[in-house]
């Protein structure tokens, strides 16, 4: 298998699906002539032309709504937010229109489209630009939410999302765009709603997703040295969430640490902890612990920011506590 950068996997997914289906188009700020603010659409303007790779003015509500309307009419749009932090300008379009119109129309309408863009903190871009919003969007029935951590899934999940008949949010991560990992040769799809076990283990289960997968794998080097073998699950898909895989693992290891970049209050980890405590109550040998972003807006200073998202030290501390 070849190793490619996450951003190239995103581009390849879009290019393959646009070649396959003429109804697919991409719109967003700086996606065409600039090749994407984060270069995820590099070369696509040359390949597909300006009718299908479209530069938008800074009008998130406008172009998000445009995509929803076009999807209602049968096209399969991809809306790129320069970051998901800016999706909040289009919040109403996403949560009231994309999420609800199918239901409200009694099933007459479908909205086969993708909202994608990066997310997350760690780049010193401050409180308004560092949101990890997957938990927020996952609260709206009608939306699907996936968060790829590796190049293979960045491609496979995006391709599935483009082919899905529902609005799917593909929440990428700026820190991961340059990271290389293996991608299968040829045509493949990563199914939405299926978690991936990154490492088999017996001592505890670590449920994570997105950028935190990389942080957990880094912490895992330490854990292995300490003789702790964790089963590491990359959720990949937040909505729908692969509960059977999570429950089966916890029933095997009896211990759970959840690690993710959303906020601690009503975050993804809160949801996992709640469901596990019900479904696996008799199997748990320790309280479920969560390592999340902290209960504060994202500070600018590098001296503070590193403490605000899950890091290796906090993960190891939590693991030690549940296996003690």
């Amino acid at each position: 298998m070849a190793k490619i950068a996450y951003r190239d996997a995103v581009r390849d997914a879009m290019a393959e699906e646009m070649t396959r289906d003429s109804r697919v188009f991409l719109i967003g700020e700086e996606v065409a002539q600039y090749n994407g603010a984060y270069k995820c659409s590099k070369g696509l303007l040359d390949k597909f032309g300006p009718d299908r790779i479209i530069d938008s003015p800074i009008s998130e509500a406008g172009f998000a709504g445009l995509c929803i309307g076009a999807a209602m009419y049968g096209l399969r749009p991809i809306a790129e937010f320069m970051t998901f932090s800016f999706s909040f300008v289009a919040f109403d379009q996403i949560v009231n229109n994309a999420a609800q119109i199918r239901y409200m129309s009694g099933g007459q309408i479908k909205i086969p489209m993708v909202f994608r863009g990066n997310s997350g903190g760690g780049h010193q871009i401050g409180a308004t630009h560092s949101h990890a919003p997957e938990n927020i969007y996952a609260t709206f029935p009608g939306l699907k939410v996936v968060v790829p951590a590796f190049a293979a899934d960045a491609k496979g999940l995006l391709k599935s999302a483009i082919r899905d008949d529902n609005p799917v949010l593909v929440i990428e991560n700026e820190a991961l765009y340059g990271r290389e990992s293996e991608v299968p040769e040829g045509e493949y799809l990563t199914p939405i709603g299926k978690a991936n076990i990154l490492q088999d283990g017996v001592d505890l289960t670590i449920v994570t997703h997105g950028r935190s997968c990389w942080t957990v794998l880094e912490a895992n080097q330490e854990l292995l040295k300490m003789g702790i073998r964790a089963e590491i699950i990359d959720l990949r898909s937040i909505k729908p969430l692969d509960w059977p895989t999570v429950f089966a693992s916890v029933r095997k290891t009896h211990r759970l640490v959840c690690v993710d970049e959303t906020k601690p209050f009503c975050g993804v980890s809160s949801q996992v902890a709640a469901e596990v405590s019900r479904a696996c109550f008799d199997h748990l040998d320790a309280p479920v612990l969560r390592v999340t972003s902290v209960e504060a807006p994202m500070p600018f200073s590098s001296a503070l920011e590193d403490e605000c998202i899950p890091n290796v030290a906090r993960i190891i501390e939590a693991v030690k506590e549940v296996v003690a």
């Binding site: 406008g62 780049h123 010193q124 871009i125 209960e295 500070p299 600018f300 200073s301 001296a303």
Partner: protein, 346 residues
């Protein structure tokens, strides 16, 4: 990628307006000290930005850093038309607005370096300078978001019967946000004394104005709201000050909002990692020939309010001040971890 040739300043001042400009006469004459002080602030801003550029290159600054080089006469000329009691608010390209509203270069650098002594304790960074004491209300990172806040600041001054005017700054790219249009209608409907200063530096990141806005004359956006819209050149401090004065007087006396589109140019990239393939080096060079600081420098020398020698030593002093401020900032401590949890609720 070729873009349309950009209009260069002609010295014409006001270029166009949606309605005849009201006549409030000439802005009050400035004292010798005031004029030199505005020159000093523009020069300080330029030197601050040049140092910031270097600091970014050497890794002292993380995240975004949007420099103001080339646009100095916009902040200076508009600010000089009002007083420090009149609220101002801007977007993320905010170093000038901060420095010209009382933020000292030391805390300004310290903020860029994420230090506890920064203007906002290292919590906001480059995009979030605030100095409420001098009515500088930020520093805002979400494009267009501040346009409604400026409306609110102006609303509050009117509500309190203060007879003030709020200058709300925004980039040309920000005219395409819905919030701005809602704000325009509210401002005109409710007669709120806010002036929307569009700093038209010809580009929204890599997108030239003619590729992002249906009407390329952005002041015309006012027409849809029956509002006064004015377009003026903005490399000359005095031109900016005069037109700003007229609109500020009108806002104060008649509670009338306006759009003031100021034609300017940014010399540097959008933020720091911008290869600038969307424009030619020649275009940048052409504009550099109309440098706002050079223009004011020549004027005050010609006016004889300061001689070359004194001006040189004033500049020398500023350069030293910038170096000292940078050194002071670098020697400042990082914030304590406990600061993560302060300032969240009042």
């Amino acid at each position: 990628m070729a873009t349309k040739k950009k209009p260069l300043p002609t010295g014409a001042g006001v270029l166009a307006s949606t309605h005849p400009l009201p006549d409030y006469g000439a802005a009050p004459a400035q004292s010798r000290e005031e004029r030199i002080e505005w020159y000093r602030l523009m020069y300080l801003t330029r030197k601050f930005e040049e140092r910031s550029y270097q600091s970014y290159q050497t890794g002292l600054i993380g995240g975004f850093c949007h420099l103001y080089n080339g646009q100095e006469a916009v902040a200076a000329g508009t600010f000089a038309a009002v007083t420090d009691a009149d609220p101002v608010i801007t977007a993320y390209r905010d170093h000038a607005h901060g420095l010209m509203r009382g933020i000292q270069p030391g805390p300004a650098f310290a903020e860029l370096y994420g230090r506890a002594t920064g203007v906002v304790k290292g919590k906001g960074g480059s995009m979030h300078y605030f100095n409420v004491e001098k009515q500088m209300w930020g520093g805002h990172g979400i494009v267009g978001g501040q346009t409604a806040l400026g409306l609110g600041l102006a609303f509050a001054t009117k509500y309190l019967g203060e007879k003030k005017v709020c200058f709300c700054y925004m980039g040309d790219g920000a005219v395409n946000q819905g919030t701005f249009h809602e704000s325009l209608n509210l401002a005109q409907l409710m007669q709120i004394p806010v002036i929307y200063v569009i700093e038209n530096n010809m580009y929204s990141m890599g997108t030239a104005v003619e590729r992002h806005s249906a009407p390329v004359e952005l002041y015309k956006r006012a027409l849809g709201y029956d509002m006064l819209g004015v377009r003026a050149e903005a490399q000359d401090f005095d031109i900016v000050r005069q037109v700003s004065w007229t609109l500020a007087e009108r806002a104060r006396k008649e509670n009338m909002p306006a759009i003031l589109e100021l034609m300017t140019y940014r010399y540097r990239g959008h933020s720091m990692s911008d290869p600038q393939l969307y424009r030619s080096k020649d275009e940048v060079e052409e504009y550099r020939k109309h440098d706002p600081i050079e223009i004011l420098r020549e004027k005050i020398l010609a006016e004889g309010i300061i001689n070359e020698k004194d001006l040189d030593s004033l500049e020398e002093k500023v350069r030293k001040e910038v170096v000292a401020a940078h050194d002071w900032a670098l020697a400042s401590p990082f914030p304590a971890q406990s600061e993560i949890y302060t300032d969240i609720y009042a």
